[in-house]
């Protein structure tokens, strides 16, 4: 099945990378054109992903699998990327001279993620993960230094150090897996690990998982989150906060399917991580003043919820995790869309800066409110449906035993904690009237995209059955 057109989305984004490489060599550039090129490449890739949604192929000596599972993730990655490109089209805090490079690395990172979700071989996974990570490491310090605090440099260094450490864990685990099974192909590993000696096998799986916990920002691999979110420019953070997490979840599920045998320890570990992530993320978010930091901590808490889906270790749990992460990405994109538009010159926004937003730009205030209420898990938005289904499936998987019951009660309590900080942002945006704050100007495209996101948040929440069915079918292809 050598069907090379199956990698159409990868090819089109690669073309984009090459184009921006060439553009970066030119001296005289019209930045409007650069911007328009980027946005159109984003849309083209999205359409390419749509076209190849139903493709199936095995490429590159069996290390690259095109199936429903990978294509769905690719579609979501391309979708998220186009949204980021649209609301970040002005790149307010990126120096004009490095914009072609910025776009190049952005596309390169997305390319890495798209390759990651298709990789079914350890080396391929490693290479594509690093391709995506290193591109992001470079995006962070590209913020132009308006205040001279060099905060972006600090963030960049932190990110790369933590990232390399996480990669170290992962490689360590991979070496174990190779040692135990003698193969780097996931399919062979899956059968090989069943007979491998415990606890080495489960240890190896956990080590590999740790590398992706870093991407998803699960406690205790979350340390990078607040500083990188704060240090990177708004648009970059909008990308980091959403799209790499799709890749992380895709691979977490793949790795989880490898775990067999004595999984009880793994489950208990995941439970502890889930609950710690939720409490750590939510409690820290309560006291944040910077909106991006707050969203970062809330992301840690949401990562805890995703782990609930992994704990079930069954198809419906995994597919709900996919449903949840896609919802999370859309809700977060809606919030970052508002942040990027409200920020005048790309500076970070404190919660106070959103004062009187309902007057300064009603549409943005509405998008922000829906996004935050959805993140908080208020029905009928997608955040609620995802949480509700995860809680139900977790308790079902645990056959209502006491420890699972405690787990979901703790998780449910966390939604109660979380509401406070989301609500206080909505409150600032909606209830304060600030006369001296200037109006916020947004272009029509951003507004339209924002309203489309709102519509998606509502529709995904109100009518989830189709989506979960698709995710179910996707997960079944890899199990």
């Amino acid at each position: 099945m050598e069907n090379h057109m199956a990698i159409l989305p990868e090819l089109s984004i690669l073309t984009g990378v090459a184009a921006f490489f060439v553009l970066s060599l030119c001296k005289q550039l019209d930045f409007n054109q650069v911007k328009n090129t980027a946005v159109s490449i984003g849309f083209i890739t999205f359409i390419a992903a749509l076209i190849s949604l139903r493709d199936e192929a095995t490429l590159f000596f069996g290390s690259y699998e095109i199936d429903l599972y990978s294509q769905i993730f690719k579609l979501m990655i391309c979708f998220g990327l186009s949204i980021v490109l649209v609301f970040g089209q002005n790149l307010k805090d990126i120096d004009e001279s490095v914009r072609p490079e910025y776009y190049m690395f952005l596309f390169l990172s997305a390319l890495g993620l798209m390759m990651l979700v298709s990789s079914v071989e350890l080396i391929a996974i490693f290479v594509s993960l690093e391709l995506s990570s290193f591109a992001i490491y470079l995006l962070v310090p590209m913020r132009s230094d308006q205040k001279g605090l060099r905060i972006q440099m600090e963030a960049g260094i932190k990110y790369i150090l933590f990232g390399v450490m996480a990669t170290g864990f992962m490689l360590f685990g991979m070496s174990y897996i190779f040692g135990l099974t003698g193969s780097t192909y996931l399919a062979e590993i899956m059968t090989g690990l069943q007979t491998a000696p415990q606890p080495a096998a489960i240890f190896a799986v956990i080590m590999v998982l740790a590398g992706f916990f870093f991407k998803l920002a699960v406690f205790p691999m979350h340390f990078w989150v607040p500083d990188i979110y704060e240090g990177a420019s708004n648009e970059t953070t909008g990308f980091i906060a959403t799209i790499p997490k799709l890749g992380a979840v895709a691979l977490l599920i793949r790795i989880m399917t490898l775990a067999t045998g004595e999984t009880q320890f793994l489950i208990y570990l995941l439970m502890v991580l889930a609950v710690s992530s939720m409490f750590y993320g939510n409690l820290s978010a309560l006291v944040q003043k910077d909106v991006k930091r707050m969203l970062g901590f809330s992301g840690i808490a949401h990562a805890g919820f995703i782990l609930l889906g992994l704990i079930t270790m069954n198809v419906s749990g995994y597919s709900t995790a996919i449903y949840y992460i896609s919802g999370y990405v859309i809700m977060n994109l809606a919030c970052f869309l508002v942040l990027c538009s409200v920020s005048r010159e790309g500076e970070n926004l404190a919660i106070e800066d959103l004062k009187g937003l309902h007057k300064r730009q009603p549409v943005l205030a509405f998008i922000l409110a829906v996004g935050l209420f959805a993140l908080a898990g208020i029905p009928p938005f997608v955040g609620f449906m995802g949480k509700f289904m995860l809680l139900t499936l977790t308790l079902q998987a645990g056959a209502m035993s006491k420890i699972y019951l405690i787990l979901i009660i703790l998780a449910a309590i966390n939604t109660g904690i979380a509401i406070y900080y989301y609500l206080s942002v909505v409150r600032v945006a909606y209830t304060t009237d600030q006369e001296n704050y200037p109006d916020v100007l947004v272009d029509g495209l951003t507004k339209t995209v924002g309203m489309a996101l709102v519509l998606l948040i509502i529709l995904m929440g109100a009518l989830p059955s189709k989506l979960v069915a698709i995710a179910d079918a996707a997960v079944k292809t890899i199990m």
Binding site: I378, T392, M400
Partner: protein, 505 residues
Amino acid sequence: MDSLIINEGFPLLSFLIFFPLAGAVVMLFFNGESFARWWTLFITTITAIISIKLVTGFDLSTHKYQFAEAHNWIPQLNISYILGVDGISILLVMLTTIIMPFCVTASWKYISTRVAQFMICILIMETAMLGVFMALDFVLFYVMWEFMLIPMYMLIAVWGGPRKIYASIKFFLYTLVGSILLLVAIIALYLKNGSFFIPDMMWQSYSLTFQIYVFLAFFLAFAIKVPMFPFHTWLPAAHVEAPTAGSVILASVLLKMGTYGFLRFCLPITPDATFALAPYVLWLSIAAILYGGFTALAQHDMKKLIAYSSVGHMGFVTLGIFVLNMQGLEGAIIQMINHGVTTGALFLCVGMLYERTHSRELSVAAGVGKYMPWYVTFLAFFSLSSFGFPGTNSFIGEFLILVGTFEANIWLALAAIPGAVLAAAYMLRLLQKVVWGGTNNPDQSYLADLGFREIFTLTPFLLFVFWIGLHPQPFIDLMHTSVVHLLDQLTNWQQQQNIALLTLR
């Protein structure tokens, strides 16, 4: 599913739920101030008129859920979209639809900023509230129950009084945190039954421990909503700061959701736990009645006074529910409607005075009787109704509840009686102050009496005060079959348990 009478024709219930929502969506695009007012009035009035079909088409002889609609929603988890009304919910549905147009007229002048947004919130509230009373699927119920928080939060936080931020966040957090364990309980019930269909969850043999946990989770959520005595502190804050329409919705409809929850879920789903825990709930109700009464007696803020009186009145309702006999239950349902009518009207009255004096202080409002004769006439009737004067609606409700309580436990009834006296004391104090005041009345000569719009708003409430007060039979007929069925099931259940115990011996 055999407990449903499926409505094959026009989906009446869905229409009632989604028509206001559609109206709200229209206002996203057309948001002129006066258009928003007329449009919302139009939408709520149409909803109210169409809802009358529910009463005319209601079959009094069956306890089943009527006008039912059932569709698949999320088949993976066996979640369906199921609606239906029975004798317990129909009155509350009618209360909601009928009260909404008057909330709009009451806000006609009161709300002058961001009118379209306000009206959108009102319409979304109507959707959510009707959804709560009609939902027969637990997930649908929960979605509506939580969804309501957003517009209500906005109503208080945006159009509220000086301490609106505090009040709105307190309201939101209290209600949300209370509902969290409800969600866990719902999931646990689903895993026992394999479906979220509420009637399927009723009268199942769960273990007593399970029932008690579920009951407590329900209780926390519903007791906060009612609010019952130790969980009531959000209510005065929310009432005081909310705009008039918000207070009316809160008092008339939102509080009923708690007691409706007790009736719909606690009694049939966890009967053993109900029998075991009813005494504690009853004494909590007594505490609420007395506490609400005494606290109301000490208030200088009119809205606070009425808010605390609500605590007392709702104490009567929970008392009626948990004595678990016919008079108690019917009295409780009637009292739910009465409280909606009377307290809603009282909040409207306070709001009308507030529009003129810009104060809710009793001392500022003292002695308006001379200048506002129409106003004090209405106020007098509603005050009389509030403390259960014979001939008014509350008399019927409180009388039935007390009869039921006497039947159950004479000490309990004796403990509740002072609550009725206290109600007279604080309402007459309010009435005396407002109508006549004292020697140091402020100058009230600038006050204009009620206009046509305001009289139009209050008259229907007065109509219901006397209708229920003088001829309550039609209302009782509506609920009777369902209440009898519920009680039959309860007694059967108790007998079975006794037989089981005897055979075990």
